[in-house]
Structure formats: structure tokens, C-alpha cells
Amino acid sequence: MSTKTRGIDFSKLSLKDALDLAILVEEEAEERYVELAHQMEIHRTEEAAAFFRFMAINEKKHGSELSERRKKLFGDAPREVRRTMIFDIEAPDYDEARAQMSPHEALTVAMSSEKKAYEFFVAALPHLSDPEVRSLFEELRQEEIHHQELVAKELAKVPATKDALGDAFEDEPLAL
């Protein structure tokens, strides 16, 4: 867990903090998908870009739902958990992206991010002491399983091609 968070004591996490953490996780993922979409666009990888934009919209939706819940329960009470405390919990790792990646590869990136998020919630569970926080984390863990199923369905529909342009970069000089 230590490489994913900084300065969060899970044993002392309140429901408000846990909701804020979950909102930030979605926000981080949304931003990363937007970044990846942009990376794909400037490298003319349109299909992967469109998929990453779609994922960004999904993450935003999840974030908004959580924000509404938080607002209902805690109003405008100040946030204690900050973005500086979380690192790539559901956001795809930068090194997963490649120029000219195929739709199948883009979906695989999303799949590993959903798995990563699932693993994060699983790893956090034993450290939680507040029962409300525990049930929220269990719910979030279940959601990640649901997302994995959705991505798996899409993955089954697209051919497992490697990259969008095949050998287009064969003439590029690489460190051999």
C-alpha cells in the first residue's frame, strides 16, 4: 500500500475521509484518461483516444455520484484527504500507454487499472477499523469487479491485434 498512498492512516479513516479518498481516486483516473486520450490524439491513434475519452467520462460519472453522497452526509465540511496523498490507484500507469496502440491494447490498459483499484481496496480492508468505512470499501471493491466484467465483455468483441499501424515505425533507429 505504501507506494499508492502517502500520509493516510487507514486505521483512523472516517467515513467522510473515505468518501473523499474515493472521490479523489475517481478524479485522478478521469484526469489520467484525458491525458492518455490526448497522447493518443497527437500520435494519431484515434480509436484508442476515443476509448480513453469514454473511460474519462465514466470515471467522472462515478466521481459525481460519490460527491453527491458525500454532500448529503457531510455537506461542505472541509476535506482532510488530498491529491498529494494518492498515487495511481485507479489511474492507468503512464508506462502502459504506447503510440499506435490498438483498441484491444487500450482496453487491456483499462482492465489492468480496474484490477489495480480492486487490489487497492482489498489491501486496505484489513487496516480499517470503522465499520461504515469498511462497508464503503467493500462496496467499492465490488464495483471494481463489475467494471472488470464490463471491460472483459468489450475485450471479447475486439480482435487481439497489437498496434494500430503495424510496422509503420520499423525504420526508426532504436537502441538495439
Partner: protein, 293 residues
């Protein structure tokens, strides 16, 4: 009125509207993200930060932040940053660039920046290759590496940046990788907070021209945090011993942190200026004198 609430910065406050044009998968993306987090934790507003770089893919980094940026001349980031710091010591000055920028064309500036000990943070994105110019040998390329300029393999042993800066007396020396962004953000934050010349070597793989077997994935498997090894970062000899493994081990964290920071050059300049100007006529009076003549 009640006391003013402290301003809390978000990593987004340091992110500019300019979109990175690096190759997807480039290690520099993770370094940039770690920098945003570190800057938000330090909490200096963007207008109090000057970010200087040389030329290279990695040197594009100041443009991706909301700090004052100077994407300068290949190899000359350090002298420019030193000038800025001396002229305005209140600025937080960051310097960034590649291994080519810092250890070949700019290599001559490094010992002098270290011995002057200005309060700067120098972050090198060490990808062991010239990325921007499409994959030539760099000073940190491993022996035998085949590139466009070494089709039969490199014949020169690489520079060891960690040992080099330690030998010149750098008071803060650390190494990180985007494979551990939380660790990297912490290292950069500690480097910024250190009162003196702080050097951070970030192993930041080039996905397009770099070594296939030394990418972020391999870093994840190979990295060893100095903390987990019980390393004492105040022990210079132990730091040098660890630094010798550059190229064979990936140690991350603070190698060396001088527990007794020496006075910085910028502070000494300020002191001397104050001493020399005490009792002397004000600049306005001097100007008046000229105008009256």
C-alpha cells in the same frame, strides 16, 4: 475577522495548459506528475517558483508547469538558474534536464554549481540516451549499448552521476524512478526543502530509443528502497559505497543528506551586499548625483 486559513495547493495548480508531446509511455510523464505532487506539498505559489531547463525531451518540463519557466540552451540550465537565484534569492529555483544536457555538454557546470552550493534543486531525467535527437549514445549509456552512433556497441564506460556529485561535495543526493511515484514525489519534496544544492537523479526510461530491458516495468521489479536496506543517509562513505552500484542496482531514496547544511552562496551574496551597502548612499541618491551633473 478570524485568522486567515492557510492556502492549500493542489497538484493541478502547478499544471499548465500546455499538453506534453512526449511519446506515450515515456518515463518523464511520471516524473512530471511526481513534481506536481511535490510542489503542492511544499506549498509555494507558482509565481514564486522559477523552473529552468536546458534542451532535450526532459527539458520541456518547465513549460508543463505554471511556474516561471526558462527552456534555455543545451547544457546551460545550471548557470542560468544560478544567476536567477542570486538575483532573486526569494524564488524557489528548480533545474531540470537530461543526462546528455547535464553530464556531457553541461558537465563542466556541475562541479561549480555544487561547490558554490546555491539553494537549488537539480533534477536529471537520466534515460541513458539522447532522446530528442533520436537515440544517440549519452554519457550514462551502458558499455556495449548499440545505438545509431554506436552500431557495434559503446566502447566507453558510463559516467556515474551519483558518485560524481557526491565526490564534488553535493550536500543532498537522491535517486528515484517513476516506477514509484509516491517515493519520487517524497524525494523531490525533500530535495526542495533542503537548504542547499540538492541533486536528484531520476532513472526515467526512454520508451522509443532506450533499452527495452530497462523500462519502468523492470524498474518496478529491480528497485530497492534505501530505507528498506537500513541505509544511513547522513553517512557520506556509505552513500558513496551505494552510489558505486549505479548501473547494476537501482537504489531509490536519499543517498546522502548533509545533516549540517553549510551557508549557501545566495545567502552569502545577500549578506555581503548588505554589509557593503550599509552606510553607503542609496541608489536613488547616487542617481540624483548623476542627474545633477
Amino acid at each position: 475577522m478570524g485568522a486567515e486559513l492557510p492556502v492549500v495547493f493542489d497538484p493541478k495548480d502547478y499544471k499548465s495548459d500546455l499538453k506534453p508531446i512526449w511519446c506515450p509511455g515515456c518515463g518523464d510523464f511520471g516524473v512530471l506528475q511526481a513534481m506536481y505532487r511535490a510542489l503542492a506539498s511544499v506549498g509555494r505559489p507558482p509565481h514564486e517558483i522559477a523552473f529552468v531547463s536546458g534542451i532535450g525531451c526532459s527539458s520541456r518540463i518547465p513549460g508543463y508547469t505554471t511556474a516561471y519557466g526558462f527552456n534555455s540552451v543545451h547544457g546551460r540550465a545550471l548557470p542560468i538558474a544560478q544567476g536567477i537565484k542570486i538575483a532573486n534569492p526569494d524564488l524557489l529555483v528548480l533545474v531540470a534536464g537530461g543526462d546528455g544536457d547535464g553530464f556531457s555538454i553541461g558537465g563542466g557546470h556541475l562541479p561549480h554549481a555544487i561547490r558554490r552550493n546555491l539553494d537549488l534543486t537539480y533534477i536529471v531525467m537520466d534515460n541513458q540516451i539522447y532522446g530528442l535527437t533520436k537515440g544517440q549514445l549519452s554519457p550514462t549509456s551502458p558499455l556495449h549499448l548499440k545505438t545509431v552512433t554506436s552500431p557495434h556497441g559503446a566502447m566507453e564506460a558510463p559516467v556515474n552521476p551519483l558518485l560524481y556529485v557526491l565526490a564534488y561535495g553535493a550536500p543532498f543526493v537522491a535517486q528515484g524512478t517513476p516506477a514509484d511515484m509516491a517515493g519520487l514525489a517524497q524525494i523531490i519534496e525533500d530535495a526542495i526543502r533542503y537548504p542547499g544544492f540538492a541533486f536528484v537523479n531520476v532513472q526515467s526510461p526512454c520508451v522509443t530509443f532506450g533499452q527495452d530491458d530497462w523500462q519502468v516495468k523492470q524498474h518496478r521489479a529491480a528497485m530497492k528502497t534505501l530505507e528498506s536496506l537500513g541505509h544511513n543517509s547522513t553517512d557520506l562513505l556509505s552513500a558513496m559505497d551505494k552510489a558505486r552500484s549505479y548501473g547494476s542496482e537501482l537504489y531509490t531514496g536519499i543517498l546522502y543528506k548533509n545533516p549540517n547544511p553549510a551557508p549557501t552562496y545566495d545567502a552569502m551574496v545577500r549578506e555581503r551586499q548588505q554589509a557593503l551597502t550599509t552606510g553607503s548612499p542609496s541608489p536613488a541618491r547616487i542617481l540624483d548625483g548623476f542627474l545633477q551633473k
